[in-house]
């Protein structure tokens, strides 16, 4: 068994917000008819929550499920559970038109923490980060500068950002630069 490590192995940086690479995360891409009963049942059995509404994101301590597109969900789980979770989904959805793939090693996750976390994202993504426009329970797929990314709120002062593993270094540099002390925007 190889020793799996995340892209930046937990590297952290503190500016006006703290950026921390989150280590290994279990991530499963699940595609299919999101309105079909077997799909709803399989998601519920695995994550404990239903299929989210458009752009919805439901999180618990260990699991999560997020709406990626009209036919795609992102399942979050502990890294070591991902393979078993894919097997579980494949069994539950046998005979359906679906895809369940373990994407854990293709991704990197960062946490931006602090009361100014929204300012960091707002500098890099073409997204309205006002409280009224983006809140807990939502996922937003977009770009951070030139890298595709998605993010959601873990709580009021913690934004989790997901990107491709191959772009982890670039995204970490971006986030560090955006959180540079003295460059606070004072917004949100």
């Amino acid at each position: 068994m190889s020793n799996a490590v995340s892209a930046l192995q937990g590297e952290a940086h503190t500016g006006f917000a703290t950026i921390t690479e989150q280590g290994l995360r279990g991530m499963i891409t699940l595609r299919g008819d999101l309105s079909a009963a077997p799909m709803k049942k399989a998601v519920k059995a695995l994550t404990g929550s239903g299929v989210p509404q458009m752009r919805g994101c439901v999180l618990s301590d260990s699991h999560g499920v997020a709406w990626m597109s009209p036919d795609e969900l992102l399942i979050l789980c502990p890294y070591t559970h991902a393979e078993a979770a894919v097997a579980e989904l494949s069994k539950a959805l046998a005979g359906q038109h679906f895809l369940a793939a373990n994407m854990s090693d293709a991704r990197a996750v960062f946490a931006i923490t602090g009361s100014a976390a929204r300012q960091v994202v707002a500098k890099l993504a073409p997204v309205d980060m006002a409280q009224s426009a983006f809140s807990e329970g939502e996922i937003r797929r977009t770009r951070l500068a030139q890298a595709p990314a998605a993010f959601w709120l873990r709580d009021a002062e913690m934004i989790e950002v997901m990107c491709f593993r191959s772009q982890a270094e670039y995204v970490f540099e971006l986030l560090k630069r955006a959180a540079q002390p003295g460059s606070e925007t004072g917004l949100f």
Binding site: M54, R55, M68, S69, P70, P126, R141, T142, R143, P148
Partner: protein
């Protein structure tokens, strides 16, 4: 900057999240088509000053293709709609007619 609401995920996406896919509602010609029909499909495009129909993809977003109706002169957006259609839906046409009475584009008006 051009802002289009993606009908697949509801996001008001600015141009930097989108990839342009060129003219909409082109009928594909294939094996057995006449040279004239194939030339029309392959090379001939509308180039209007005014009402235009285009394909866009929410590339840095939900990843889906969709259609948009807009004015090339003012950048006004009349509406966005599903990619799974061969022609602009009635509500989009009505929205254009309200703003640009007498418009026509290709085989639509």
């Amino acid at each position: 900057m051009l802002v289009l609401t993606c009908p697949c995920c509801g996001v008001e996406a600015d141009e930097t999240e989108l990839a342009a896919g060129g003219q909409a509602h082109i009928k594909r010609e294939t094996v057995g088509a006449s040279d004239d029909a194939f030339e029309e499909y392959m090379f001939m495009r509308e180039n209007p000053k005014g009402v235009h129909f285009e394909r866009w993809r929410h590339a840095n977003g939900c990843g889906k293709w969709f259609h948009a109706a807009r004015c090339t002169m003012t950048l006004e957006v009349f509406g966005t709609y599903t990619a799974q259609t061969y022609e602009p839906p009635a509500d989009i046409r009505a929205a254009i007619t309200a703003k640009r009475p007498g418009w026509s584009w290709g085989r639509f008006s």
